[in-house]
Symmetry: C2
Subunit: 257 residues, 2 copies
């Protein structure tokens, strides 16, 4: 199993605080020692830091913790390998271009019979169930809409339907983004929190660090964090229900159905 | 214009020394201040560090200089914007998946009429001539060979032919890799050097740093570096001729034609 971390914000925001908590689960407070990765969107562009090493020991993860990379959407992951050996090509998140946008994906869970998933335009480079499922989703989207995406509701309803199908093959907790929207699907566990004014102080669960967000933000900032398990001890996170999907844009939850 | 940096090696090798030279051209000894990026292959996997900031000031570039990331193939770039504004989505190198391999591309030069290049399966996310040319090349490859690549010679001859065509639209110096091969195309300037035993000492041109490779290597190591202009002062680099293509695998030049 693995841990997911996502962010959607209405202003470029760094994720140093949350990543500090997640990173510890990568081989220290958690067993997810088989690589980690994090993708930062800036507009339509994306840059991804990833490493097949445990995040709590990684020099690159140290940079991501210490150096505030400002971004509107983040998709992050620490890995405990089940399907697919420990290798860079098996490290999440995965990114592919479709319709002139970069789609970035991270998965927590395990899927049976993933080798029987139909392959289309997108092909897996590594050997994980996760990447096969990602290529399946994008290939289905591209097969139905080869040149441009449908309207937003139609698109994300279809992605939810494909996620429902994948959930039948095992555990499928998902983060998926095109840099504008952050789509989250809960198969077994996924939590989120939206922070907005008045901002308070938050205390990480995995390491003795707190932050006073009122010192770091402006009154108009809206920032949603999504994680497998709550990352802080003194805030109220929303638990998603199995089979539930959430869609965020600029920090706010938008209606999906 | 921009500067290119590529590496092909038969053992995982870091590029700290060469990148140290290139980085200075990103806003210090050179005018290429509009972003930089570098992709490292490990097997079929690739991780890319990129930043729309000048490399000589970037914290991420500092990490890439100081922290030896071992890799068999590297594709790097520092940018001086001409077509396309300074933004992450316009920062090289660009990566797309085709045939279950990640293809990574960096371009030096400027192309006229690039908006008229036929678009196919691959679409540009940003607004550069470079990314349009990359999508054109991959779309042509995918149109002719939708499911799997042809034999190596056939494939790279076709890529050379497409490069010849792009050269007619302006300046098109190119690095392209699938993680196994490094393809280099010279339109105006591109240089390479292969280092092998007996290794000596090299002195960077852009900053007062030298390295004794005999201390860093084993006698069987073969490492080729490709750059727009030679990066060292005391070694003999090969200048490529306009219209010439070179293909490297595991550090060695392989026959293309």
């Amino acid at each position: 199993m693995c841990e997911l971390l996502g962010m959607s914000a209405n202003v470029p925001t760094d994720i140093c605080f949350s990543f500090k908590g997640l990173k510890e689960r990568g081989g220290n407070t958690g067993p997810h020692k088989d690589g980690w990765g994090i993708a930062f969107y800036q507009g339509k562009g994306v840059t991804t830091f990833k490493d097949a090493q445990a995040s709590h020991q990684s020099e690159v993860a140290k940079l991501v913790t210490d150096y505030p990379i400002k971004s509107n959407v983040v998709v992050g992951h620490v890995r405990q390998a089940n399907r697919g050996r420990v290798a860079l090509e098996n490290t999440h998140p995965f990114t592919r271009e479709l319709w002139g946008r970069y789609w970035t994906y991270a998965h927590n869970g395990q899927l049976k019979d993933y080798k029987s998933l139909p392959q289309g335009r997108f092909k897996a480079v590594g050997t994980t169930d996760s990447e096969s499922a990602f290529c399946f989703i994008l290939s289905e989207l591209a097969a139905r809409y080869p040149d441009k995406p449908p309207a937003r509701k139609q698109l994300f309803r279809l992605i939810k339907k494909l996620s429902d199908r994948l959930k039948q093959q095992g555990v499928f907790n998902l983060l998926l983004s095109d840099g504008e929207y952050l789509f989250c699907y809960c198969s077994t566990k996924l939590h989120w929190i939206t922070r907005r004014a008045p901002f308070g102080t938050a205390q990480l669960s995995d390491v003795d660090v707190d932050i006073d967000f009122s010192q770091e933000t402006t009154p108009n900032d809206v920032v949603t964090i999504v994680a497998t398990l709550p990352l802080t001890t003194n805030e109220r996170w929303q638990a998603m229900a199995p089979g539930e999907a959430c869609l965020f844009k600029a920090g706010e939850k938008v209606e999906l159905l």
